[in-house]
Amino acid sequence: MIFLRPLCRLGAVLLGAFLFVLLPASDAHAGTPVRIGVLAYKGAEAVQEDWSHVRNWLTDAIPDHRFILLDFDQAGLTRAVHDQSIDFVITSSGHYVALEHSDGASRIATIASPWALSPAQSIGSAIVVRNEDARLQALTDLAGKHVLAVAPDAFGGFQIAARDVRQAGIDPEQDFAQLEFSGFPLQNMVHAVRAGRADAAIIRTCMLEQMISNGEIDASALRVLAPIAVQGFRCQTSSRLYPDWPIAALRHTPAQLSKQVAIALLRMPATAQGYSWAVAADYQVVDTLFRELKIGPYAYLRQWTFEGLLRLYWGWLLLILAVLVIWAVHTVRVEYLVSRRTRDLRTAQEQQRLMAEQARVHQSTLDHTARLAILGEMASAIAHELNQPLAAIGNFARGMARRIAADRLEPAPLLDGASEIVTQSERAASIIRSIRTFAQKTASEQKSVDLITVLEQAITLFSGAHPHAQVSWQPGAVPATVMADPLQIQQVMLNLLKNALDAQQAAGRVHEPIEVQFRIDASSYCISVRDCGCGLAPEQFTRLFEPFFTTKPEGLGLGLSLSKGIIESLGGTLAAAANDDNAGLTVWFSLPKEEFPGAV
């Protein structure tokens, strides 16, 4: 039946609006209209019936004003106050306090009822139960019961009882089996309890007594739960008591009019039922109730509970939660990605290291192969060169044998021959040694080496193999250390010298010197080998460093490409250019000084 409430409210609003339009027209005979909004807690007809004498009294007492009664439900009345479509409001104490907070309603008098000695203690909640229902004796017995109330914002019809029930230890909003708001008129609720459709009904005090005296209900059928005895209060109440209804002026109500109304009301004699007007009571207790229940003007307090916050901001909370979750997921994902990337990176580095190692081993093998290839290309020259000391040794030895056989035993020539044999055998041994050193398969080992010494060894080996070749070489007496494998440098140098000699041979200029120059730059040493050979055609130039490119019939075409690779692996460069005078080629390479590794 909760869903019926908005409909009831709508009906009341429409009715109010209808009256608002009709009444002035029907009562157009005198004065300025003054509209009094009345909370119709017993239904619209009851308003005119209950309050007409007040209207008449005021109309009579205050000339030039015509008072009109307008009935509203609580929401409609609140709106009317807010819209300033009424000038005075007669409403429940609770509603009044709410209006005081929201719209500055200002009480000017309080109803004095016949059943209460003091207007300040005139209204409470009576919780009506069936007389025979033995389960219900105390307020706490309401737990788990089906309870009817007027509306969440009904003062006597819910809020007063709610405060006392709560103080008894039961949360009316949670602990009842069902809390049903059935709206005005209240009589229906009483009948519902009577009929057993509900266990209890919260109504304003004296309501039950009125119904009994009107004969609407049998007095023995119902009783008030946990009645409290209050001196001077003639109705039964389940709760403490609060001030009775006030009449309040609104902000826009003229002060003079308020004063006139207040005076008129205080002077009004008691009605036949015993109602009159008293000086406005103190509604602070109502305010306390609101504060305690966190309702009415203090509804915002309710919002600050966790539940309230949750109810109000669940969307935002959900959003924040979602953001947090997304953030957490993102963080975890980033962590995961970072760790995976790190792992990938480490794997890649390891692979790179392995590849570099393989490349190094490969390069070492290739270097060795290349050195053997160079030796192979030089083989006939080397054979010739070895043949010379061997042939010389043979000649000396035979010569000596002949002298001895002929009995020509002068010691000088014999000694001469013997020492010549020694010299030549040493010469042969040194050639073999240098070849073996060059050809040995050693792992490439970089160490601090004196470049000049290494170059000299290479030139000596070359000159040994090619005695007719002229190598012009005047290094300065300077220390020139580089980090390198001396064999590799010798290999490069031998290769360049061999190329130079081959080029000069092809050009028929074998006897002309091959110029080797040594230069010291800021961070590197530069060695150039200049020949006056046949040079290169432009198209040959572009392919100079390609593997297996060669201009020599017996060449492998590996020398220069390998040499370039070696020099670059040592952090240097290798390049070639035609000589300015267009005769021959100059090939040079640079190596970083030991103190500037990789600086070239």
Partner: protein, 209 residues
């Protein structure tokens, strides 16, 4: 002129090789002169001393083959023995065509080398002897007049004076005078000797007969 007067000329750019050859030849009793290059040898050699040339085929500046050619161009027939470390057949063929005495691969047995040297020197001495006779004959023949040379040629052919007179269309008496003068100038006493002289003169020019 005999082997004692012959000289072995060793030309090798390798000093050790040069010295060792000189040492070996010296031990075998030869007179030796050694040179570091073909140019040094050509500068030094006068073209008359008999002997033989021991050459390394491969030398810088001027190769052994080139030196041999140069000698021949100068009309010198000094025998050449090539030594090679390479056993290059094509080179050997060319060397022998140009008149090399021998082509030996290093290292070779000393006896082989020495035998080759001996053969070459003997040839050289023989050449020298022939050359000396030729020069003597040519000198003597050069003193004859044209008519006397004609008479000498016909005498060498064994023709009697009457025939010579008829062929030259001169008197028998005049032939007798030329004959007497010719024999006088050449210092010979018979027609056979004149024939020998003429042959010796021609022997100095082997390519011409």
């Amino acid at each position: 002129m005999n082997e004692r007067d012959a000289v072995l000329f060793v030309v090798d750019d390798d000093a050790a090789m040069r010295r060792s050859l000189a040492y070996l030849f010296d031990a075998a009793g030869w007179r030796v002169q050694s040179f570091a290059s073909a140019h040094d040898f050509l500068d030094h050699y006068d073209g008359h001393v008999p002997g033989c040339l021991v050459l390394d085929v491969r030398m810088p500046l001027m190769s052994g083959l080139r030196l041999q050619q140069t000698l021949r161009e100068r009309g010198n027939h000094l025998p050449v023995i090539f030594l090679t470390g390479h056993g290059d057949l094509a080179m050997a063929v060319q060397a022998m065509k140009t008149g090399a005495c021998d082509f030996l691969e290093k290292p070779c047995k000393d006896q082989v080398l020495l035998d080759a040297v001996t053969r070459a020197v003997q040839r050289s001495i023989e050449d020298s002897r022939v050359n000396a006779q030729t020069r003597t004959a040519e000198t003597a023949l050069a003193t004859l007049t044209a008519r006397e040379r004609e008479v000498a040629e016909l005498m060498a052919a064994g023709k009697p004076s009457k025939i010579i007179a008829r062929e030259l269309a001169i008197s028998d008496k005049t032939v007798q005078v030329h004959r007497h003068n010719t024999m006088e100038k050449l210092g010979v006493h018979s027609a056979a000797e004149i024939a020998q002289l003429l042959m010796a003169a021609k022997a100095g020019h082997p390519g011409t007969h």
